[in-house]
């Protein structure tokens, strides 16, 4: 989700349209804000009933919002929305760098060959951006596995463990249950996963830069 959104936004902004500089500034705000502050604000926004500004905004359109943080599916959705908005700015900027580096002549050629918007995107632009997409995907996956403050503050792993993630589980086992042995084992598993993902990123980059040249 983060990937698709940020890619689209980057393509849009990359064409240097109206207000793109301004948007860049705005969407980067959450990236520099601390995870704690961001989570606190969202916890407030997502309050159940009419008191939470999100539900209030929805009610203006006649929608009754759920009790976000305390219903099973919605709690996870809330966490995801929170994370996506926090990291979107970062990914958009990385993609923008890639979009601006796309060889203009290739796109020009495709356009002359009669490629329309849709084709142009899927047949030309997307393959050109693939290495960056891959990189951002892996970085985002690693980042999501390490989400801690959002979970701790917004849902505490609940309701019924539906938003329990790896790192929060480690913390929970080690410093709440004081089962440091089990927690250490979890940490080793986490490290192994991160290692594998990083290795994948490393090798795919090598392969990809080959075809770029």
């Amino acid at each position: 989700m983060n990937l698709i959104l940020s890619l689209l936004l980057a393509l849009y902004l990359g064409e240097g349209r109206l207000g793109s500089k301004f948007i860049r500034g705005i969407i980067f705000l959450p990236v520099v804000t601390s995870g704690v502050a961001w989570a606190i604000v969202w916890k407030y926004l997502l309050q159940g009933g009419d008191a939470g500004p999100v539900n209030w905004a929805l009610s203006l359109f006649g929608i009754t919002g759920p009790n976000w943080l305390f219903e099973k599916g919605w709690a996870m959705a809330s966490v995801i929305i929170n994370r996506v908005m926090k990291n979107l700015g970062m990914n958009v900027l990385i993609f923008m760098g890639a979009v601006l580096n796309m060889p203009g002549d290739v796109i020009e050629a495709a356009r002359i060959d009669g490629a329309k918007h849709f084709n142009l995107f899927f047949k030309i632009k997307l393959p050109l951006l693939m290495p960056t997409v891959m990189m951002v995907a892996i970085v985002t996956v690693i980042g999501s596995m390490r989400v801690f403050d959002t979970i701790k503050l917004m849902t505490d792993g609940g309701p019924e463990g539906s938003t329990m993630v790896m790192v929060y589980y480690i913390y929970h086992q080690a410093f709440r249950m004081f089962d440091t042995g089990f927690a250490s084992a979890l940490a080793v598993v986490l490290f192994a996963i991160v290692l594998v993902l990083t290795a994948v990123q490393w090798f795919s980059r090598k392969k990809v830069s080959y075809y770029e040249s």
Partner: protein
């Protein structure tokens, strides 16, 4: 012609929508930091009702918030300065000096770079306990210097020093400077752009860090801002939103200022770090 106008209108709408979406949380944060607690639970209003600036006074009363602020500042400054100094030295050494096991040490550094703090937090906890450093600010200051943030800065500086032409150094050596003077007079000044982006990143990351203080700190007087923020609760453990939001506003202010002033620098630094 008509087509063009609708296009412009559409893109304008999109800009407005995105802006709204991202400003919305910040807007509510500020508005409700100026409301009293009963107004917060009423129907939300787009502007503060009572302009209760007393919230901003209150947060310093119910908790030693100023103390927390200073703690965070101290940790961030020591951490950042230490991080930059050490990584400049180490980065230079990795790039230019020959010493045994250099490559092995560099591999070790890369491992440290990839190692998420969550993986090492448990052994670190016991280590700090053995040193008697639990519940002090010491681990919080050490981690950004020797933890993965330090490894990251070192890596960035090494990558930079590798690109600095050798002739610069040779000229200095012929002029009779010793290695230490070469470093302070020439290698540090040329690296200022990299040093500053590394410093900004380190500062932001230390300022925002949450897991480490949560694990290492217990007593109220040693809290850092993120801990402090989560502690604005009433006796039932429910958050006192008006105070919490006021404190949150104050806590992100310095970072937002840094960001607004050095916007280009910060975004460049962050994007480059993502691409490493």
């Amino acid at each position: 012609m008509n087509h063009k106008i609708t296009n412009r209108l559409l893109s304008f709408l999109l800009v407005a929508l995105i802006t709204l979406l991202f400003v919305y949380p910040f807007w509510w944060m500020v508005v409700n930091s100026l409301n009293n607690s009963s107004e917060i639970f009423g129907t939300p209003k787009l502007l503060p009702t009572s302009w209760a600036f007393s919230n901003y006074h209150q947060i310093f009363v119910v908790q030693p918030f100023a103390r927390h602020y200073l703690n965070t500042l101290a940790v961030a400054l020591v951490g950042t300065v230490g991080n930059v100094l050490l990584s400049a030295l180490a980065g230079y050494a990795f790039a230019r000096m020959r010493f045994p096991l250099r490559n092995a040490a560099f591999m070790l550094l890369l491992t440290a770079l990839m190692m998420p703090i969550e993986v090492t937090i448990i052994p670190l906890f016991f280590q700090m306990r053995n040193w008697g450093a639990l519940d002090t600010l010491v681990p919080l200051m050490l981690l950004p210097i020797f933890g993965s943030q330090g490894a990251f800065s070192t890596f960035m500086l090494r990558q930079f020093y590798v690109t600095v032409p050798n002739e610069l150094e040779e000229a200095a050596r012929i002029d009779g400077l010793n290695p230490f003077r070469i470093f302070t007079k020439i290698m540090l000044p040329v690296a200022v752009p990299v040093l500053s982006s590394v410093a900004i990143l380190a500062f932001i990351s230390v300022w925002n860090t949450y897991l480490e203080p949560l694990v290492f700190i217990n007593s109220l007087k040693n809290f850092t801002l993120p801990l402090s923020l989560t502690n604005f609760n009433d006796t039932y453990g429910l958050p006192q939103w008006n105070l919490q939001l006021a404190a949150t506003t104050l806590s992100i202010l310095p970072i937002l200022l840094v960001y607004l002033i050095f916007q280009q620098k910060v975004t460049d630094a962050m994007v480059n770090s993502g691409l490493k």
